[in-house]
């Protein structure tokens, strides 16, 4: 359950102040599937960063699963990111020197899980993305679509309730993009809340909910 009320995010650029988010009110139920759309610079990524607890709003309240997050310290926010949220980025953000397996393992390593149960979870996650045969490959030995599916396996390996994807198909061709969207929608079908930022109207059409943004506000 996501509840945003009166969220403001301002950036100081030189003398001028950019209002990246203006008075955002938004409620999303568990298992929702929302597409955030809007022109470049309208505040989509900023909204996603705040939802993902990577950034703090200047004003407003954000309750995640009933917990008021704006007053939490960094440690507690890191814990929520670790346990409740999975990120998928346009640029994949895989660690180049690590294999697919090790990349997927990272969130569990950070969570301090013991090696044995960790490996089992990673295997399941990779299998769910159809990547079992690619487990030992490094990112430069994988196609774009495979890389993004490794990133999705990584985002889901901790079994979070919320997946945030910022233009997950932006760097992919149509076929690979469709694979990735299918993978994300499959997760949503299993009950995960899915929020996707996209420029692609076709992708936006598939979401149950469209959040149209312009100049920092939801239309």
């Amino acid at each position: 359950m996501i509840e945003l009320t009166g969220i403001e995010r301002r950036f100081q650029v030189g003398d001028t102040e950019v209002r990246a988010l203006r008075q955002i009110d938004l409620t999303l139920a568990d298992g929702d599937y929302a597409a955030v759309m809007g022109p470049s610079g309208s505040g989509k990524s900023t909204l996603l960063n705040i939802l993902g607890l990577l950034d703090r709003p200047n004003a407003g309240r954000y309750r995640l699963d009933g917990v008021e997050t704006t007053t939490l310290d960094e440690e507690a926010r890191a814990r929520l990111r670790r346990e409740r949220i999975g990120f998928v980025f346009q640029a994949f953000h895989l660690v180049p020197r690590l294999t697919a397996f090790e990349n997927v393992e990272l969130p569990l390593v950070l969570a301090g899980m013991a090696p044995r149960p960790r490996r089992e979870r990673v295997r399941q996650s990779l299998a769910a993305m159809g990547l079992t045969a690619r487990a030992g490959h490094r990112p430069d030995q994988l196609s774009g679509g495979q890389r993004q599916r490794v990133a999705i396996a990584r985002a889901t390996v901790t079994e979070p309730g919320l997946i945030l994807a910022d233009e997950p198909t932006g760097n992919l061709d149509r076929a690979a993009g469709e694979d990735v969207v299918a993978a994300l929608e499959a997760l949503n079908n299993k009950g995960l809340t899915l929020i996707v930022v996209t420029h692609d109207p076709a992708l936006g059409e598939r979401a149950r909910r469209r959040i149209q943004m312009d100049d920092g506000a939801i239309l």
Binding site: L54, E75, L98, V109, L110, G112
Partner: protein
């Protein structure tokens, strides 16, 4: 994050950037090897000197005429001149129950000749106990015989160099020689034993003390060597010497007693300090290695900004990131130190197997000090880059700036 995961992850990162890791490791290794090698040089020198002094004899006290101002006591009265030390002074010392042996020493230079060959050498006058007090070994013949030191027969014991100069390869034992204008018979040949406390034992002639006094026409002794009855008797022997001489010299303290231990202690301290100083200078090279570590770590942080952002997005806490980067610095320092110390021990073993005259000795504190300093610099110089990484803003870091 588990500690073993932190370490293996740090090690993985280091091996992924092999070249710069090796170079930094090399710098740390050279620095810690320098600390260990230089301190083993100093320690070797210290042991060498101590050894030399121990060869002088054991439980040794040296009585020299004149008061040493640094030993304290009231300043000498105006116009006081120290009395000479005489053979009777020396013999009187044997009254002390704490003194085992004494050896009066008279010293001078005189020409020694045999046949047509002649050589100017140090002439040392003493008694038969000189041999036991100084721990001397003979190569051939016998030493000055015991007996009344006032009426000793004109015998001489000579060193190896002098023997070769005078007699070549012929046997010198029993030969007659002249020292100054007096005749002596050679009865013994000293074993070659190098330079000891400034006197070259190979190039001298040892004659009875009374003969030396007559030869140089001087009843004054150069010094008296005293051997105490064991280590615990040293202090009592020193007190007795001062008391006996004071009684014989009209109540005046006009001699100085140097104990071998005090002498040893002084050299020990000087050389110990020198070793520390040398090791300290070597430790500076470790600090330089620390700067290298910092540089490598800063490069690493700036190259991996996006990765740090990712780790934060995946839920890493500040101290996880701090731990990762600090572990890298510490692993570099630890591996470098281990390599450097092993290298140093190898070098010491190699040196000692090749060079017989002087032995390097690694003082036990040296590897510890090297490890402490290099891990310390690793920690200190790794902290700044690690803190920088830990405090990156996740959104900016993910964007790569």
């Amino acid at each position: 994050m588990r500690i073993e995961d932190t370490l293996s992850s740090a090690a993985h990162t280091l091996t992924a950037h092999a070249t710069r890791s090796w170079l930094t490791l090399l710098a740390v290794a050279l620095g810690s090897a320098a600390v260990v090698l230089l301190s083993s040089l100093g320690e070797g020198a210290r042991r060498y000197v101590l050894d030399e002094f121990t060869q002088l004899g054991t439980h040794l006290l040296i009585v020299i005429p004149g008061r040493n101002e640094t030993t304290g006591g009231p300043p000498p009265l105006l116009g006081e001149t120290p009395r000479d030390l005489t053979l009777q002074d020396a013999l009187a010392l044997l009254r002390s129950p704490h003194i085992a042996r004494i050896a009066p020493v008279a010293v001078g230079e005189a020409p020694v000749s045999a046949g047509s060959r002649s050589r100017e050498v140090t002439i040392l006058g003493s008694t038969s106990d000189y041999r036991a007090v100084r721990n001397l070994a003979l190569a051939a013949g016998r030493f000055l015989p015991p007996g009344d030191p006032e009426r000793a027969p004109p015998y001489a014991v000579i060193g190896q160099t002098l023997a070769e100069e005078l007699f070549g390869s012929a046997n010198p034992i029993g030969a007659r020689i002249r020292i100054g204008d007096r005749r002596f018979r050679v009865i013994g040949l000293l074993e070659a034993s190098g330079v000891s406390l400034g006197s070259n034992l190979a190039d001298l002639a040892l004659i009875p003390v009374s003969a030396a006094q007559a030869l140089f026409d001087n009843p004054a002794l150069f010094r008296i060597l005293v051997q105490a009855r064991g280590r615990s008797a040293l202090d009592a022997a020193q007190d007795d010497i001062l008391a006996i001489i004071r009684a014989r010299h009209d109540g005046e303290d006009d001699v100085t007693v140097i104990t071998q231990d005090a002498l040893l202690g002084t050299f020990d301290r000087i050389l110990g300090a020198l070793t520390l100083a040398v090791a300290g200078i070597a430790a500076i090279s470790l600090a330089v290695a620390g700067v290298l570590i910092m540089n490598v770590m800063l490069v690493s942080v700036s190259q991996r900004t996006a990765e740090v952002g990712l780790l934060k997005a995946l839920g890493a806490r500040e101290h996880d990131i701090l731990g990762l980067f600090l572990s890298e610095a510490l692993l570099l320092a630890a591996a470098g130190t281990a390599a450097g110390i092993s290298l140093a021990y190898l070098g010491v073993a190699l040196f000692n197997s090749q060079v017989a005259a002087f032995a390097l000795a690694v003082p036990p504190w040296a590897p510890l000090a090297a490890a402490t300093v290099s891990l310390g610099t690793g920690l200190i110089f790794g902290l700044l880059p690690a803190l920088r990484a830990a405090r990156l803003d996740p959104v900016a870091a993910l964007a790569g700036h």
